[in-house]
C-alpha cells in the first residue's frame, strides 16, 4: 500500500492516518461510494427490486407469489387476488422515479388514461396508485411468453407471424383511437398467452415514466443506451413531435423480425427474399417501414386490412420479387387513397358561386338605384345590403374552406382537396384585399392630385404580389412544409393558377376606379375662372354621375352655362345642357321661382327643355332656361323643383350639373357665359368657352 498522498484530506480537511488505504481519506472515499449518482445510471446501478416480503407487507390484499421480471422501469410480480380468485401482475415502478415530485401527478394522469384501454389484445390495467414509496400498476396476468422468447424458441413461421399481426393492429388501432400511443413496441412487450392470443403490454408506459429522449442518454463513449432499433426515425430525431405513426413503424420492425428473424437495418432485403412467403407481404412491411411517416400506413387498421387481404385470398407467389422500397401496392384491398378534407367541394362551389354572382347582382342593383334618384345614404345602405346577401355564400364557403385547410394540415398534407380548399378560403379575402389596396391607391392619387397612373400601377403590382404570397404561404402551411423546405413541382401550377385569378379580379376591381369621376368647381370671376378637380368614386358607385360641375356665380352676373359632351374629335356635340343662371340681387329678385320639369335623358335622345321662372317683388317675371340632352340631368339646390331666391343666403346660387356617363375619350366642354346685370334682365352675354379634356386640368380659355 503506497502512502504517497497528502497528509490531510483535501475535502474534509481531516488528517489522513498512516493506515489509510492508498493514502486516501477513508471517510470521504466511502462517503463518495455511498452517494447514488444524480443522473440515473442505466448500467445496473438502479435500486434492486424490493424483496417479496416487503411487497407483500405493502399490499396485504394480494398474495405475492413470485418475481416475474425486473428491468429498468421496475419489477413485476405475479400475485393473486384472493377475493376475485384471479392472478394479477403487480408492477412496482422503480424507486428512483418516485424521487421526482412531479412524477406522482403525471403518473396518476397517465395511468388513468391507460386504465381506459379495455381490449382483448391489450394487457388491461386494473388499478394503479402509490403505496408509500412505491408507485404500482395492477395489471392483467398473462400466462405465457413474450414474443422474444417465442422467436428464440425457434420455428416462427411466416404464416404464424401473419396470423398475429392483425390482432396487434387491432390493439394499436384501439389505443390510437383513444389517443394513446405505445411508443415502445418491441417483442419484449408483446405477450402470447397459453391459448396463443396476442396481448400488447406496457402501453404508454414509456410516456408515463417520462422516458422522453432525455433519458435516451448517451454513455460517455457516445453509444446510445437501449435498443433504438424499434424506434421510428422521427422518434430518434425529434421525439417530442411523434404521433401514432411511430407505433406503426415499430410494428413494422417487429413484423420484419418475425418473418425473417433479423432486424431491418441499413439497406435491408424485403422479407420474401429472406424466407419463403407470399411476396405481397413485402409491400405491406416495406410501407410500414417507410422513413417518412407520411408515406407509411396512416392507420394501424389499414395495415390489418392489407394483411388480412393477403391471408384470406388465394396465395399467388409472384415469380419475381418486387424491387426494394417500392411504394404502396396496387391491390384494391389496400386503401392508398387518402381521405378528402370535409366539405371542401361544397366550399369551393359556394365561393365560386358568390364570386360569379357578385358582379352582375351589384351592377343590377346599381342600375336599379341610379334611376330612382334616391338619397345618397339610403342608396349606399341598400347597396351594402345587397353586397351582404351576395357575400353569405361566400362567407360560408370561406369558413368551410379554412376548416378544410386545417384538416389537411393535421393530416400532414395527406388529405386531398387542397386546391379547392385554398380557393374557397382565400378567394373573398383576396378580393377584399384587392379592393382595399386599390382604394388606398386611388386615395393617394386624390391626395397628390397627380401620378394617377403611377399609383394605379403600384396598386396593380402590389395586389398580384401580395395575393401570390398569401396563396403560396397557405399552400405550404397546409402541406406542413417548414420554411426552407423546397416544395414539389406542384407549386408552379398553384402559383400560375393563383396568378391568373388575381390578375382577373385586380383588373375587375381597378377598371372602374380608373374611370375616376371628376368634380369641377368652377368659379366665375370676371374674367378668370378657377377650377378644382376632385374625385368621387363612391358617388359613382351608387349611380351618381361622373361629372359634377359646380358653378358659383357671383352677384351681379348672369351666367349662361353650356356643358357639352363632345365626341372624340371635339367638334361633334354629343350632348348639351344650357341654361341661364341668374345671380340674386336683393334689388331684383324676390319671391318664388318655379321650375319646369326636368328629366335626364339617354344619350342621343331628344333634348328636354327646362325652365326656371322667377318673379321679383315688383311683379316682374323672368325666366331662364335651357335644354337638356345627351345624358345630363339637373339638380336644383334643395333637391326640389323650385328655387327660392329670396331665401338664398348666399350671394350666389349654385346649380349643379351632373352627367351620368363616363368621360373617357370624350371631351368635356364647359361653356360659361357671364353677364353683368344691368337693368331688368337684359342679358348681355359674354361668352366664355372652356374646353376640358377628360382627366386633364388644363383649361383652354378663350374670352371674347
Amino acid at each position: 500500500m503506497s502512502n504517497s498522498g497528502p497528509s490531510t484530506c483535501p475535502k474534509c480537511r481531516a488528517p489522513i492516518s498512516v493506515d489509510a488505504p492508498q493514502g486516501l481519506c477513508p471517510k470521504c472515499v466511502l462517503e463518495g461510494a455511498a452517494t447514488t449518482p444524480t443522473t440515473s445510471d442505466h448500467a445496473g446501478h438502479r435500486s434492486p427490486p424490493p424483496p417479496i416480503e416487503e411487497v407483500a407487507a405493502r399490499f396485504p390484499q394480494l398474495e405475492i407469489l413470485e418475481l416475474i421480471g425486473a428491468g429498468g422501469m421496475g419489477a413485476v410480480y405475479k400475485a393473486r387476488q384472493p377475493r376475485l380468485d384471479r392472478f394479477v401482475a403487480l408492477k412496482i415502478l422503480s424507486l428512483d422515479l418516485a424521487a421526482n415530485p412531479a412524477f406522482a401527478e403525471r403518473f396518476n394522469r397517465e395511468a388513468r388514461v391507460l386504465a381506459r384501454l379495455n381490449h382483448p389484445n391489450i394487457v388491461t390495467v386494473y388499478d394503479f396508485g402509490q403505496e408509500g414509496d412505491y408507485f404500482y400498476l395492477l395489471m392483467e396476468y398473462v400466462d405465457g411468453v413474450n414474443l422474444r422468447q417465442a422467436m428464440n424458441a425457434g420455428g416462427f413461421k411466416p404464416s404464424e407471424a401473419l396470423a398475429l399481426v392483425p390482432d396487434l393492429c387491432a390493439a394499436l388501432q384501439f389505443a390510437h383511437d383513444e389517443g394513446i400511443l405505445h411508443r415502445d413496441i418491441k417483442p419484449e412487450n408483446i405477450l402470447i398467452d397459453a391459448r396463443g392470443r396476442v396481448k400488447v403490454a406496457d402501453f404508454g408506459i414509456a410516456k408515463l415514466i417520462g422516458s422522453t429522449p432525455d433519458s435516451l442518454s448517451l454513455t460517455e463513449s457516445g453509444a446510445v443506451l437501449g435498443t433504438p432499433h424499434y424506434m421510428a426515425p422521427e422518434q430518434l430525431e425529434k421525439a417530442a413531435d411523434i404521433d401514432h405513426r411511430a407505433d406503426i413503424y415499430s410494428l413494422g420492425v417487429v413484423f420484419y423480425e418475425m418473418l425473417t428473424g433479423e432486424l431491418p437495418l441499413g439497406r435491408f432485403a424485403p422479407p420474401s427474399e429472406k424466407a419463403a412467403m407470399d411476396a405481397r407481404v413485402d409491400d405491406v412491411v416495406m410501407r410500414t417501414l417507410e422513413k417518412e411517416r407520411s408515406r407509411r400506413y396512416q392507420k394501424a387498421s389499414e395495415v390489418k386490412t392489407s394483411v388480412e387481404a393477403i391471408t384470406h385470398s388465394t396465395a399467388k407467389v409472384s415469380s419475381q420479387p418486387p424491387p426494394i422500397g417500392q411504394a404502396a401496392p396496387s391491390s384494391p384491398s389496400t386503401t392508398t387513397a387518402a381521405a378528402t378534407a370535409g366539405w371542401v367541394t361544397l366550399a369551393a362551389v359556394l365561393t365560386g358561386l358568390s364570386l360569379v354572382l357578385a358582379l352582375p347582382v351589384l351592377v343590377v342593383a346599381i342600375y336599379f338605384l341610379a334611376h330612382r334618384g334616391l338619397d345618397y345614404i339610403v342608396a349606399t345602405l341598400i347597396l351594402l345590403g345587397v353586397c351582404l346577401l351576395v357575400a353569405v355564400p361566400g362567407i360560408v364557403g370561406c369558413v368551410f374552406g379554412v376548416r378544410a385547410l386545417r384538416e389537411i394540415r393535421e393530416s400532414d398534407g395527406h388529405k386531398r382537396g387542397l386546391n379547392r380548399a385554398l380557393f374557397a378560403s382565400l378567394a373573398w379575402p383576396l378580393l377584399l384585399l384587392n379592393v382595399a389596396v386599390t382604394g388606398l391607391a386611388s386615395m393617394g392619387a386624390m391626395a397628390t392630385q397627380r401620378f394617377g397612373l403611377l399609383w394605379l400601377g403600384a396598386a396593380f403590382l402590389l395586389n398580384i404580389t401580395l395575393g401570390e404570397l398569401i396563396v403560396l404561404g397557405a399552400w405550404r402551411w397546409a402541406r406542413c412544409l417548414k420554411p426552407g423546405v423546397r416544395a414539389s413541382g406542384e407549386t408552379g401550377t398553384v402559383a400560375v393558377v393563383a396568378g391568373v385569378f388575381l390578375f382577373i379580379i385586380t383588373f375587375l376591381v381597378m377598371a372602374p376606379i380608373t374611370l375616376i369621376p371628376v368634380r369641377m368647381v368652377h368659379t366665375v370671376n370676371e374674367p378668370v375662372t378657377q377650377t378644382q378637380v376632385s374625385l368621387e368614386p363612391v358617388a359613382w358607385l351608387i349611380g351618381r354621375p361622373a361629372l359634377d360641375a359646380r358653378l358659383i356665380v357671383p352677384p351681379g352676373h348672369v351666367a349662361v352655362v353650356t356643358l357639352e359632351r363632345r365626341g372624340r374629335d371635339a367638334t361633334n356635340v354629343v350632348g348639351q345642357m344650357q341654361g341661364f343662371v341668374v345671380a340674386s340681387d336683393d334689388r331684383y329678385f324676390k319671391g318664388n321661382v318655379q321650375v319646369g320639369e326636368v328629366r335626364d335623358t339617354n344619350a342621343g335622345g331628344p333634348p328636354h327643355p327646362w325652365t326656371m321662372r322667377f318673379l321679383d317683388d315688383e311683379g316682374s317675371s323672368g325666366s331662364c332656361g335651357g335644354y337638356l340632352s345627351g345624358g345630363w340631368s339637373l339638380t336644383l339646390p334643395g333637391g326640389g323643383r323650385e328655387v327660392d331666391l329670396t331665401r338664398s343666403t348666399n350671394d350666389s346660387i349654385t346649380i349643379a350639373y351632373h352627367s351620368t356617363g363616363p368621360f373617357k375619350d370624350e371631351n368635356l366642354v364647359l361653356v360659361v357665359t357671364g353677364v353683368p346685370r344691368e337693368g331688368p334682365l337684359v342679358p348681355e352675354f359674354r361668352r366664355i368657352d372652356h374646353l376640358l379634356r377628360a382627366g386633364s386640368t388644363n383649361w383652354v380659355e378663350s374670352i371674347q
Partner: protein, 238 residues
C-alpha cells in the same frame, strides 16, 4: 436475480457443505486484517497478534462457532466480532487456568520455550478496552482497501494503471486542492476525457464497494444500510 452471497451461503449451509466452507474461508481471508488489528490494539505485539488471529480463524473454520450464528442478524461483520470476543473470552479462561497453575509445564514469561506452541504469556491490558466501533472502523478500512485493490486490478488489466494512480484522489470527491487540469497534463488527456475517466473510476469503485459489502450481508438492500453505517463509523471519533 439476487446472487447468493458468500455469507448467505455460509449461513444456509451452516458449515456443512464444501462450498460453504470455501466461502467462509474466503471471507476469513478477506477480513483477516480487522481481526489482527483488533488483537494488536488490545496490547499484543505483532507476532502474538498474528498467531492468535490464525488460531481464531482456524477454530472458526473448524466449524466451532457457525452453528451459533443467527441467520436473522445478517451481517458477517457482527458475526465475526461476536465470534472473536467469544474466542477471546475462551482464551482468557484458558490463560487464567494456566496462571493458576493448571498446566504442568512452567510457563516462561518470555515464551521462548520451543516446545511450547502456545503463545507466550501475554497478559492483555484490561484498561485498553477496544470498542466495537473501533473494530467496525477497521472493517470499513478493509472494505475500502479491498475495493481499491480490485479497481486497481481492473484498471491495470485495461492498461490504465497510470490513470488509476493519478485519478484516485478524486475518489474522495471534488475539492479545491484537486486540479483536473493538472491531471490532464499528467495523463496527456483532454479536460473532457479526464472528467469521463474520473466518472468511470468512481463508478467502478462504487460498484466494487457494493460488491464487497454484498458478500457480507444476506439481503441486497442491506448493502445500503451497511455502507451508510460504515461511513458513519468512519466519521466518528477514532
Amino acid at each position: 436475480m439476487f446472487r447468493t452471497t458468500r455469507w448467505t451461503l455460509v449461513l444456509r449451509a451452516q458449515g456443512d457443505a464444501p462450498e460453504a466452507h470455501a466461502a467462509l474461508g474466503e471471507l476469513c481471508e478477506a477480513y483477516w486484517t480487522p481481526v489482527f488489528r483488533f488483537l494488536r490494539r488490545e496490547g499484543r505485539d505483532e507476532d502474538a497478534a498474528r498467531e492468535l488471529t490464525q488460531e481464531f480463524f482456524s477454530r472458526l473454520l473448524a466449524g466451532a462457532g457457525i452453528q451459533k450464528a443467527d441467520p436473522v442478524r445478517g451481517r458477517f461483520r457482527s458475526y465475526l466480532l461476536g465470534a472473536l470476543k467469544h474466542f477471546l473470552a475462551d482464551q482468557k479462561r484458558h490463560e487464567g487456568r494456566l496462571k493458576r497453575g493448571g498446566n504442568v509445564d512452567v510457563q516462561s514469561i518470555d515464551g521462548n520455550e520451543a516446545s511450547d506452541t502456545s503463545p507466550g504469556l501475554q497478559v492483555p491490558d484490561p484498561s485498553a478496552t477496544v470498542s466495537d466501533t473501533w473494530f467496525d472502523r477497521q472493517w470499513a478500512l478493509a472494505i475500502m482497501d479491498r475495493s481499491l485493490h480490485s479497481v486497481e486490478v481492473e484498471f491495470k488489466s485495461g492498461g490504465r494503471e497510470r490513470q488509476f494512480e493519478v485519478l484516485k484522489p478524486w475518489l474522495m470527491g471534488d475539492a479545491e486542492g484537486l486540479s483536473q487540469s493538472d491531471a490532464a497534463t499528467q495523463l496527456d488527456l483532454s479536460a473532457g476525457a479526464v472528467k469521463v475517466a474520473v466518472h468511470r473510476l468512481r463508478k467502478s469503485f462504487r460498484a466494487a464497494v457494493r460488491a464487497e459489502i454484498a458478500q457480507t450481508v444476506t439481503e441486497p438492500d442491506e448493502v445500503d444500510a451497511e455502507l451508510r453505517y460504515l461511513v458513519q463509523v468512519l466519521g466518528s471519533e477514532p
